[in-house]
Amino acid sequence: MADALVQVTDLHKVFRRGSERIDVLQGTNLGIPKGDFVALMGPSGSGKTTLLNLIGGLDRPTRGSIAVGGKRIDKLSGGQLAKWRARHIGFVFQLYNLLPVLTAVGNVELPLLLTGLGRGERKRHVATALAIVGLTDRAKHYPRQLSGGQEQRVGIARAIVTDPTLLLCDEPTGDLDRKSGDEIMALLVTLNQQHGKTIIMVTHDPRAAARARRVLYLDKGVLTTEATV
């Protein structure tokens, strides 16, 4: 795919557990255009999260290349990758992974601490992100004072506050009840359709996957089928 935002080519990832060799990804090829919303499905251990981590620069491939926005991230050093992630990637986790000692505002502000923005600007960006996820009235609440759905909204606000190129979601509804899960999916769809965010989402939930534009299936490290919703 020539104009892909994310271009994965012949990607291999091998883990070793003692003398055991585990081929998690075996020559995966994938192209994701800007503005796409892709759901990655597959059984446990199929390599979904590994692929997501590799695209997000959290891990390094054994072989193959990954380009995001035309930049080969598999060639970047650890420090360069960290800075690249801060600028281009927003992560949403299954268990939200908020810092319990910080309020919603504090959590959403975290990625902005790595930018050169002043306090006032950071405050404005945080307020905007919290408004987008509909949590303005919970800004001063700590994670323990929020419901699961609200915590995930804070997680999404933290992911979008730097206006990243790519949003990577690892089972964002996996720990939520159906109603909250639907709300989170509606929010992700809004971010994709109204704000033009490119989203790659790993999920086990067919209902969540159905909200994406495309669904990709991974099995034993091989991308098997692709379905357009």
Partner: protein, 385 residues
Amino acid sequence: MKFLPLIWHNLMRRKIRTIFTLLSILVAFVLYGYLAALSAGFSAGVDVADADRLVLIHKVSLIQLLPISYGPRIAQTEGVVDVCHFTFFGGIYQKKQSNFFMQMPVVPECLFKLYPEFVLPDAQKKAWLADRTGAIVGRATANRFGWKVDDRVPLQATIWQQRDRQTTWTFTIDGIYDGAKKGVDTTQFFFHYDYFDEARWFGQGMVGWYVIRVDHPERAADVAKRLDAMFANSPEETKTTAEKAFAQAFLNQIGDIGLIIRSILAVVFFVLLFVAGNTMAQSVRERTNELAVLKTLGFTNPGVLALVLAESCCLAVVGGGLGLALVTLLTRAGDPTGGLIPGFILRARDVLVGVGLTLALGIVAGVFPALRATRLRIADALRRS
């Protein structure tokens, strides 16, 4: 600065643990400050001792007396400028052993010539010279007992009885002297030797030791040698040393104070290192997932290292800073013996060393947990959570 709230909130995550660690650090630094002040107090005499002053004592020990006739012979020795004798009186105020302070009969004119660092108003000096039963006292002791000029002070003699076997000697306070510089001993009490010599029951014509000023400090060793040679083979042979060495030797009778204090502090800080290090290690272990999240968000390894080290340093600086502030206040209240250690002060250089120690403690306690945090592999840490 923008990371300060994050650092502070992380420290306050386990309030009880943080408070106990802070208290351990605080107590250690109070102890450090106290011991540093104690060390300063003990070495004050050594620090203010002049290089051109010698002390001549009986060769056997300081307790043995010397004839007063040695004075003129010493004064005639080439290189000697002034000579003054002192005798240990050993009186107790109000019959309480804890009320001890140094009292010595002296020749007043001689004392002021030899010790210009004792500052006494002229009027008080004149009054003392004219008053045979008068005495002067240092500011520290005057403050300790609330004495004022013209007060009558009875001292209970432990050695020197009067001719009528009375043990109570009563003196009039004619003056209160101050030190011309920091560290000068202002606990001492001086009275007229003439009066003492006439009134005492035994020991007439004998003195405790001589303090001698030489014309050039570099000649001090030579003069000391000649003085001891002059009194060799006499019933009272002598031993002459520099005042500094004398003060140091006097101090060494108690033990090597500096070594004792350094040893105690080394043990305290070694233990403290484990306390603070354990707190930081636990804190990092508990936050493996959060540190992985921070790295996911774009915090670099040096950034995470700095964050953990900043937490550790913050803990050490707050605890150590509070400890140093507290011990500064405590030492300003005076020495714990109530005046026996006149130079008991927390010196600026000890405070600076304390500040350096807080930072060193923070860095050493935090460096291993911080390195562990940087080695964290994000994907593994997130998978484990």
